[in-house]
Each structure stands twice: as C-alpha cells, then as structure tokens.
C-alpha cells in the first residue's frame, strides 16, 4: 500500500518526529511515492522547481557547478540521507535550483508537487501546521549550516581563503541586492 509506505517515510524523518500517525495520514494524502534508481536525475540545476521531495529510503547526491583547473564541472559535494528534504528552498524562494539532484542508490522518495505543497502550506488543520513546522525546521537547520560554513570562511587563517574573503564579501553583497 503506497499510503502506508508514505506514512512510514514521513515518520522516519526527524522533521516529523512526534507527529501522531493520524496527522501524518493527512499529510500523506498530498504526497506520491516515487521510486528511484542509481544515477537517475531527480532535479536539474537552473531549472525551475516543480516539487519538494522527502527521502523515504536511499540516498541522493547533490551536485554543484564548480571551477576546477580552468574547467567548469558539476561536482558531487554532499549526500542527502533518508528523512532529509530537498527542493523546498527553490520552490519557496521562487528561484531556479542551485544544484542538481541525482539518485545515489535504489530507494524511494515522497514527492509533493507544487500544488500539493501549496495546499499543505495553506492548510488550517493539524496536517498543515505539522507540515509548515517541518519545513521551517528543515530550513532553520539548513540556514544554520550555511552560516557555520560562512563563519569558517571568515575565521580561516589560511592564505588561500584569506585571499578570497573580498570575493566572498562581494558575492554576498551581490546576492543580497538580487
């Protein structure tokens, strides 16, 4: 039964910890189960986001465009694990994706398309409240991690990063203005 699989997938996520099964059931009505195979692209960088995913089982690789020895390459910089959410930043900020997501193992995703995601965010029942809290928790954790990374840039005493600090400042200034 897909419905039970979706509820189990939600229950595995720390973002939905402590949420009663009947509330998870309300959320599950808005999701579909999407199987994935290794190497399968899930979302592509620079494309508009059309969905939010939660990993029920398996792992997803995050690839970002980097310069390396004069070439531009998509480099795998992180692996997302079961329970983690992706696609939500792009959808909420209404910006194209900054990364490409590729299945790193066989597994299953819970997919909330744009309409379902919006419905849950607007929902006045317990399912909506739990979902909004889960999304905010995911975003809060993510911003905390991003700030820690930026802080490490700032504190780094190595010449290599030191020489890039002005670039970082300029990049952030540019980002804030957009």
């Amino acid at each position: 039964m897909n419905s039970m699989a979706i509820i189990r997938g939600l229950a595995r996520s720390p973002h939905f910890a402590g949420i009663p099964t009947e509330v998870l059931h309300g959320i599950s009505m808005h999701a579909s189960l999407q199987k994935m195979s290794p190497g399968e692209p899930i979302g592509t960088r620079l494309q508009p986001s059309d969905a939010v995913w939660l990993i029920a089982d398996g792992r997803v690789e995050v690839r970002r465009l980097q310069g390396y020895e004069g070439r531009r390459l998509e480099v795998a910089l992180s692996i997302l694990k079961p329970g983690m959410m992706f696609g939500h930043v792009s959808l909420l900020s209404e910006q194209p994706r900054t990364a490409t997501f590729v299945a790193a193992s066989p597994g299953a995703l819970l997919r909330f398309d744009r309409k379902s995601f919006s419905s849950l965010l607007a929902d006045r029942q317990q399912a909506g409240a739990a979902f909004r809290r889960a999304v905010i928790l995911a975003l809060g954790n993510q911003l905390h991690a991003v700030n820690q990374l930026l802080d490490l840039f700032i504190q780094d005493s190595g010449d290599e990063i030191e020489s890039r600090r002005e670039l970082l400042r300029a990049a952030l200034d540019g980002a804030v203005q957009t």
Binding site: R133, I136, H144, V146, E160
Partner: protein, 170 residues
C-alpha cells in the same frame, strides 16, 4: 504612527483580522532599539522571534575587518526565525540596528498562546519565516558556490576542495 497602524501596513499580515493584530499587541509589546544596538548575537539562546515595524537591521557574521553583511531586514520582515523552531538552538548570526528601530519581540510561549486562541498571526508569521529563510539560504548558497568556484581555480585547489567537501558532507 501607532503600532497597530504600522502592523496594518505590513504585507506579511495582510488578511489577518485587525482584532488578531490588536491581540498580538497585547501579548507582544513594541520595543524601541537604538541605532547600532546589537539585538541578536552569535551564540545567544534563540527562543524568540522579532517582527520589524520601523527602521532596519543588518544581519552579519564575523566582526571588524572580517564582518560580512548577509542581509538587510526592514519593516515587515522577521528576525530570529531560524532559531524559533529549533528549540533554543544558539543564534548563528548577529543582527545590528542600522537605524533607530521599533520591533515586536515574542517568545515561543507567546506564539503558542496565539495558536491556541486561533489567532491568524502565527500562520502568517510561519509563511513569512519560510520565505525569508528560503531566500537567505538561496542567496548564501549562491554566494558560496561563487567563492568556491574561484577558490578551486586558485594555485592550490586541492586543499580547499577537500576541506570544503568535508564541510559539505559531514
């Protein structure tokens, strides 16, 4: 302008009944913040959220010559949101008033009271918080990608690459 009049001008709470906004002002008193005051600091326990009514704040990391301005937060925007639902996790950035400002500050307990009362403010606040967080993450990640691309093209790319890979994957 009176605080209620200021609230009524904010798109964030458009659609929230005026009675709910009046109730918000009963439980969350407006606070004046002088220019240059550090309202939030890195490492502080984060258990409250702040709505900016007038003035503005610079969200920053680092200090002095290494200070990085991450964002400007003005009227109708929210501060402290990253910590609100993370159960008193410490602040990861500081917020400094860049002008004399007026804010509404409330803790999680106050928000819970409003939720129980069926007040429309918490839901409006959640939506604003989601969009603010998403925008800040997007902007910061975009900036980090730009810097890493530059760093990886530098004379000794591998040390930076390996180090940042560790950071991204831990």
């Amino acid at each position: 302008m009176e605080p209620l009049e200021l609230l009524l001008t904010l798109p964030m709470v458009a659609g929230v009944p005026p009675a709910d906004l009046k109730r918000l002002l009963e439980v969350a008193e407006p606070v004046s913040v002088a220019k240059e005051t550090l309202l939030l600091d890195v490492g502080d326990a984060g258990n409250d959220v702040i709505i900016v009514l007038t003035g503005g704040f610079s969200v920053e990391l680092g200090q002095g010559s290494t200070m990085l301005p991450l964002a400007f937060v003005g009227p109708g925007e929210v501060l402290g949101e990253a910590s609100l639902f993370r159960q008193r996790s410490p602040r990861s950035a500081r917020a400094r008033a860049v002008d004399d400002s007026l804010v509404l500050r409330m803790d999680a307990g106050t928000l819970d009271v409003l939720v129980r009362e069926g007040n429309g403010v918490p839901r409006a606040l959640e939506e604003a918080v989601m969009r603010t967080l998403a925008r800040r993450i997007h902007d910061s990640v975009h900036a980090i990608d730009g810097v890493l691309s530059s760093a990886l093209d530098a004379a000794q790319p591998k040390s930076a690459f390996q180090r940042l890979r560790e950071l991204f994957t831990r």
